[in-house]
Subunit: 362 residues, 2 copies
């Protein structure tokens, strides 16, 4: 039996109801049903309608299931960029999206802020020629966050045809997006949804679809089985092109139903309160300090702290008390810790972590 | 509680030990561990070494985890074909690989046999210019199979540089391949491995890697995160590029260990015996007949029968006895049934199915 509480930034703690939903899945033999069956279509529709409710997604948005958010980067570039994309980069994951565009032969431009800093959006000029503008609402590597009000400024900054993409991999459903001001948002289920990894969710509007069709119409390759037209042809009948991670789609539907029962607003309020407790500790600690300087750019869901005690040491100590935090990302592996503050983490667990960190390290 | 036995051709019956491995996974919180942790690397290495033993895979082969076999088609073309691929097509899945090559802008050639027929390999000429030769060991849609001895003839038929790919999606570990005579074999875990869907396994040798590097060296795009160099850079340290379906990789390792305990030869022998019982029934039945005429081309793992009673009627009757078979594929939906004969299906279950089909339909 493993009783550790994982405050790692994803994979992380499973949502508390996941074990019981998994038991139901086993009893109902969800792992054995055909992905072309009516039963699967109902599971698929349940997950999609639950997400639509939780996120208040408008009708002009599609919900697509991919293997990972990493895959979304590739499909976004293939389907929505002929020549040029523009990326806000302030950490490893926003950098990776930018590199993906380059690897796929596009002229990718970036506007960079130092690792761990937010963006002063008023300073940013979006090139006229950018077909896709890649924003990062929550940079999992550095804990820097872009407020929704700042995201909403990009519609005016970008050319009218540009598609605004938002990485909310490790924050959704926390940010309440204005989906009229952006064109696509994507997320991974192993972060705030508290699910086993192996599923990415790609939300996109009709403008993204039209762009893919336009590229196809020009005779350009937009991929094969996961081109947007191919994905949509199956999504319309509540199916996927390939045999998908059926179990995760089932679990997503169940967890989202649980979240809807709790309410998005309650989830957000709890996240704010838990984040406030963590940041208050980081501010008073003599070992830790918030890695993101400006409070308005501090993530509420993946909280990063500088540490004078190496991250591996901290986790050695925490292991004694059945807890784990994430180490820093890349070159910050030992000099920072990352604390996931997801819906799966109860206020009691967060308090226990803060208390223990304070006791052990001050 | 669902007590149905699924003889559907995948997703299908889970391997009998999967529920207990899933309980262990929940107790050990496998869904929460980091995909960059030592614990994940051990899970990964365990699955790979188990597969190497089960399949008797030579050291010059790599084992890669993708999201699906459908993804393997795309990555194979991107990484291993500059201009031209050549496909043996005798059903819907072999046709789909051929179409994938076309969608990716390659000059794909095909040699076609009618749906449900095997190939007379001696008649087939492989174009000199084919860089990838796509063989299908087991066509899940039609139940036609290509014996390993016939597969082995293609090394001589193809140009020395051509890469021989084998679709064993719904048959591995049944066929005992001569891995020296082919270059790549791929499989989906929701078929003969009896696992929840959401993982494809791509086996390939150093010739496939060299070809990808050569294309990259020419300045061609071979994809992004799932290009072969990218996949291999992580596989070498028992990791994946993206956060993968960790739970399925864990379960795969456990099930393969169970299979190794039983032994590949025993699994094959059982498959032969169960297949013989099913085909003997189909031969004597007045409702069913084997869909594949020539006995040597009949699949041992996905057995397809013509039926004079519509497939949906058959499943209505079988449902009363907690059993289900697959309907026919595509336009054969009602005129054929497909019976999975996977390692998860015990001889007792197969006998019960045969008995019930005979009782009900003669």
């Amino acid at each position: 039996m493993n009783n550790k509480i994982y405050f790692t930034p994803g994979p992380s703690e499973l949502y508390p109801t996941v074990p019981q939903h998994m038991q139901t899945a086993l009893q109902q033999k969800i792992g054995s049903i055909s992905h072309r069956s009516k039963q699967f279509q109902e599971i698929y529709a349940h997950a999609v309608s639950g997400l639509r409710q939780l996120l208040q997604l408008p009708d002009n948005y599609e919900v697509l299931f991919l293997a990972s958010a990493t895959e979304v980067w590739e499909r976004a570039i293939q389907n929505n960029v002929e020549h040029e994309s523009f990326h806000l980069v302030n950490g490893s994951f926003s950098e990776r999206f930018y590199e993906t565009a380059q690897e796929l032969g596009r002229a990718a431009q970036k506007y960079e802020a130092p690792f761990g800093q937010g963006f002063d959006v008023n300073d940013i000029e979006v090139p006229e020629t950018a077909e896709l503008v890649a924003l990062i609402q929550n940079e999992t590597s550095s804990g820097a966050s872009l407020p929704v009000s700042e995201i909403n400024k990009f519609r005016e900054k970008a050319s009218p045809d540009a598609l605004i993409y938002v990485d909310a991999v490790s924050s959704l459903p926390y940010p309440a997006f204005d989906f009229g001001k952006v064109d696509s948002v994507y997320v991974s289920v192993q972060k705030c949804f508290g699910l086993p990894a192996g599923l990415g969710v790609w939300l996109l509007n009709e403008r993204c679809v039209a762009k893919a069709e336009a590229l196809l119409g020009k005779g350009l390759s937009i991929g094969s089985y996961h081109s947007l037209p191919s994905l949509l042809s199956k999504a319309k009948v509540n199916q996927t092109v390939e045999t998908p991670n059926v179990l995760d789609i089932y679990l997503l539907g169940q967890v989202v139903e649980d979240m809807n029962r709790k309410g998005a607003e309650t989830i957000r309020q709890e996240a704010d309160e838990k984040a406030a407790a963590i940041y208050a500790f980081l501010e008073r600690s003599k070992t830790f300090s918030p890695a993101v300087e400006s409070p308005e750019h501090r993530s509420r869901t993946t909280i990063v702290a500088n540490t004078t005690v190496p991250a591996s040491e901290i986790n050695k100590w925490l292991a004694e008390f059945n807890m784990a935090v994430g180490s820093g990302y890349g070159k910050h592996k030992e000099g920072q810790i990352r604390i996931a503050n997801f819906p799966a983490h109860s206020p009691e667990q967060v308090n226990k972590l803060v208390q223990k960190l304070e006791e052990l390290f001050g």
